[in-house]
Symmetry: C2
Subunit: 221 residues, 2 copies
């Protein structure tokens, strides 16, 4: 019962009454999945709500034509809440989630989710706040795809993905997928960034040498 520790990681869950916390801990299960695992996706009717304790899950969508775009990432302390809609509506899911790192998560079974939603206003708040966040993310994606310039979007993504180190191991194709564009477009844009001295390129590797410059470009959205 003392692994209730994970609850602290989740913004909205602290406020839950102790009785509810207990149910949550007792009736859900801590699971770990290795990098690359498909957490949910078309054909997989999910029957758990996942709360990510550690790691990140990349949620992306693949169109009929086979092209792919990253919708958002679920980070530690967040939940795969959009799956709940399908979870309860028994619908197939158009997007798929893949573990980008080794992931530790708490899996809340459908029935438990439903009980909690019934019994705890705070839990409902938690769920709807998570929804609001994701939907906002989707709105942002639509805005960027529809109206954004790729140099700006790419700069933004590079900074976002690099984290503190300024080093990232990605292929041009992977970056193209992030933004839902073509590999060549990314290649050319990266060359341009390199020419300006903002990054250094090598096979499967990008290293940011002038992060502020990239941030400035990204900010000019």
């Amino acid at each position: 019962m003392n692994d209730a520790a994970w609850i602290k990681r989740f913004e909205g869950l602290n406020r839950l009454p102790d009785a509810i916390k207990e149910t949550l801990v007792k009736r859900s299960q801590v699971v770990t999945v290795p990098t690359g695992t498909k957490v949910f996706g078309p054909g997989l009717v999910p029957d758990n709500l996942l709360l990510l304790v550690e790691g990140t899950v990349k949620v992306s969508q693949t169109s009929e034509s086979g092209r792919e775009i990253v919708l958002y990432r679920v980070e530690a302390g967040q939940s795969c809440v959009l799956t709940t809609a399908c979870l309860l509506a028994h619908e197939a899911y158009a997007a798929e989630g893949v573990a980008e790192t080794d992931v530790t998560a708490v899996a809340i079974p459908r029935v438990v989710f439903d009980e909690l939603a019934a019994s705890s206003p705070q839990f409902r708040d938690f769920v709807f706040a998570a929804y609001a966040r994701r939907i906002t993310d989707l709105f942002r994606v639509i805005d960027e795809v529809a109206f954004g310039k790729i140099d700006v979007r790419l700069a933004d993504r590079l900074v976002g993905l690099a984290g503190g180190s300024g080093e990232l191991e990605v292929t041009h194709q992977q970056l193209a997928t992030e933004l839902g564009t073509a590999r060549e477009v990314i290649s050319r844009q990266l060359s341009e960034f390199q020419k300006r001295g903002w990054i250094r390129l090598s096979r499967g590797h990008v290293s940011l040498s002038d992060t502020p410059a990239l941030e400035r470009l990204a900010a000019s959205a």
Copy 2:
């Protein structure tokens, strides 16, 4: 109590127990809003969930740059459910909803919504099913904007907007807004359709003369 008639219009609400139906009818209010009214939007924290009995609400998003794109429409028998996330998460909403026609709707106050969510599994199902539908819509928009060709998207939209009559009163600019693109692009595309004999154009008016052709193009998504 006999205006409970509207409940029948909503797919998921028929299954509600009578007691719940009664609460719903008693504690919500039928409202009518005229064409053009802003139903929700940035700066307006919504405190009602609207169930549309009659009319349609157009939900669109405007980017910082002032460009606009239509996200989806709420039709009779559906609900503005995405607002509930903000409703309960107390967040501002990035999108705005405008009554496209005179609208009759049932407004469920926040507290009633919360009570129903607590007390009725069927109501929760209804809400999450509505969510699933909207989210699916958003995914479709992303897919189309990112990977779709405008001729296809335009053909699809023309057919969708025209309804049975095959006549529609829209400016090229409005169609551009529908798809999140530029007026010139629409103008040229419409000219092309006209050249092929699929439509006839006049100021502020489009009349579909070969709907099947448009549908065929739209289907080749």
